[in-house]
């Protein structure tokens, strides 16, 4: 064990990631208790309102993942440092999972409360569009003729996707203006109970830590892949 391991994920960095993952696991357990045991049941929506503590943090983390992917993509194209591409790629992969969860929890919550699975308001439309753009991002990488072009083209996809955000939001908002306003749901809620607010804040922290842990995992995996590719090129 005297020679330095070329892999960047073993040793100190690996232990650090494992620690983050463990912290995320513990936080998730505590969060489950808070959501199902501590927070009071909401009066008008009932038990289904507990989805709120998943849905809201997950959707905000999804948007965060898109922002990270866009920033990583811009920096990759400008600086040509693979680290930025790894960050963008990891964000897209974890982002797809978070967007999917946000869409599913949103639909399951909307059905009993609004009596419809989906509302094409600005937020719903934007969520769906960004989810599709992330899928496109991953497809471009998968189908590109070589890894180098995959990295560049997916970066372009993320940048163009980010630029469309304000337009999708505005267009859907104006378009949705033709439909009746919704009267219940998160937008129409009054002030939250103390216990509810606490649970929500804890949920935010939990999902951000979980997100960070997953990004760190994927990032490390990509680092290993890049290292292997370099070794293979050097050997050839």
């Amino acid at each position: 064990m005297t020679t330095a391991d070329p892999s960047p994920t073993t040793g100190g960095a690996g232990a650090w990631r494992l620690g983050l993952l463990l912290v995320a696991g513990v936080l998730v357990l505590i969060d489950m208790y808070l959501i199902f045991g501590y927070a009071p049941t909401e009066r008008s929506m009932g038990i289904v309102q507990r989805l709120f503590y998943f849905h809201v943090p997950v959707i905000l983390t999804s948007f965060l993942s898109f922002a990270l992917a866009a920033v990583g993509s811009v920096l990759y194209l400008v600086r040509r440092n693979r680290a930025w591409d790894r960050l963008a790629y990891a964000s897209a992969e974890v982002g797809v999972v978070f967007f999917t969860s946000a869409i599913i929890t949103g639909a399951v919550w909307a059905k009993p409360v609004w009596n419809t699975w989906w509302v094409w308001d600005a937020n719903g439309t934007l969520t769906f569009v960004l989810w599709l753009i992330f899928i496109g991002y991953l497809m471009v990488r998968a189908y590109a003729p070589d890894a180098e072009r995959g990295r560049r083209w997916s970066a372009v996809t993320a940048i163009i996707g980010a630029a469309t955000v304000p337009f999708v939001y505005m267009a859907a908002d104006w378009w949705g203006g033709l439909h009746p306003e919704r009267v219940t749901g998160p937008g129409a809620q009054g002030s939250l109970e103390r216990e509810m607010l606490l649970t929500l804040l804890f949920s935010f922290v939990t999902f951000i830590v979980l997100f960070a842990a997953l990004i760190a995992e994927r990032y490390a995996l990509r680092s290993d892949e890049d290292a292997i590719e370099e070794l293979r090129l050097a050997a050839a």
Partner: protein, 224 residues
């Protein structure tokens, strides 16, 4: 700047001359647009009241699907003949390549859209000869081409080109589709500027943002 423009116009003139001699792309794309419009007749059994509400939607779904096919086709032919590689070697700014291809795509799409106007009149009794509709259609087509040209250049080099272009292009173009459909409906209802002005502004803003952004990132797409 002038050099870029001249190079772009040269590429554009090449595309137009090629198309005028072969008429390959225009007629195949136009035939596709007709088939889409014709299929909708049987999908909806349209009555005059129904057409008043879904007419603009039919028109724009036909236009946007045709655009996807047309852009795929244009770049596929270039790819197969090695024209894109030739263009890449040309000592001209990358923006000139983008601009030239963009002009070709806009010309193709606007021509098909114009030739489809009588078809919509006959099939649906839907008269689109309206100044505001035409303004919306041209503005939206520029936006479609601005995003589509960039994504076609990516998709054509991948293994899944027919699938990849719509998957990349349609979500980004959603604001255009919403604006074009709603704006067209307002225009056809005789609302004029007060009804569709906001939508036209949104579409033009989209055009400007994506023309600038796409021409900036186009070099990263072409780079070998």
């Amino acid at each position: 700047m002038r050099e870029t423009l001249r190079a772009a116009l040269t590429i554009y003139a090449k595309d137009v001359r090629l198309e005028l001699r072969t008429r390959e792309t225009l007629f195949s794309v136009l035939a596709f647009a007709l088939v889409v419009a014709f299929i909708f007749t049987f999908a909806f059994e349209p009555s005059p009241q129904l057409i008043a509400s879904i007419g603009p939607g039919i028109v724009w779904v036909a236009y946007i699907f045709t655009a996807v096919l047309g852009m795929n086709r244009t770049f596929l032919l270039e790819h197969e003949r090695g024209t894109l590689d030739g263009l890449r070697l040309a000592p001209v700014p990358r923006e000139a390549l983008y601009l030239g291809k963009l002009l070709s795509v806009v010309t193709l799409l606007v021509t098909v859209e114009a030739l489809m106007l009588p078809a919509f009149l006959v099939l649906y009794d839907l008269s689109l000869f309206n100044v505001w509709f035409i303004a919306i259609a041209v503005a939206a087509t520029v936006g479609i081409a601005a995003v589509g040209t960039l994504f076609s250049a990516i998709a054509v080099h991948t293994r899944a080109r027919e699938v990849l272009l719509p998957i990349l292009f349609l979500p980004v173009a959603l604001p255009l589709l919403i604006g074009a459909v709603t704006g067209s409906r307002e225009a056809l209802d005789g609302e004029g500027w007060s009804g569709m002005g906001g939508w036209l502004q949104l579409i033009v803003a989209f055009d400007i943002v994506f023309l600038v952004l796409s021409s900036l990132v186009f070099e990263y797409v072409l780079e070998e």
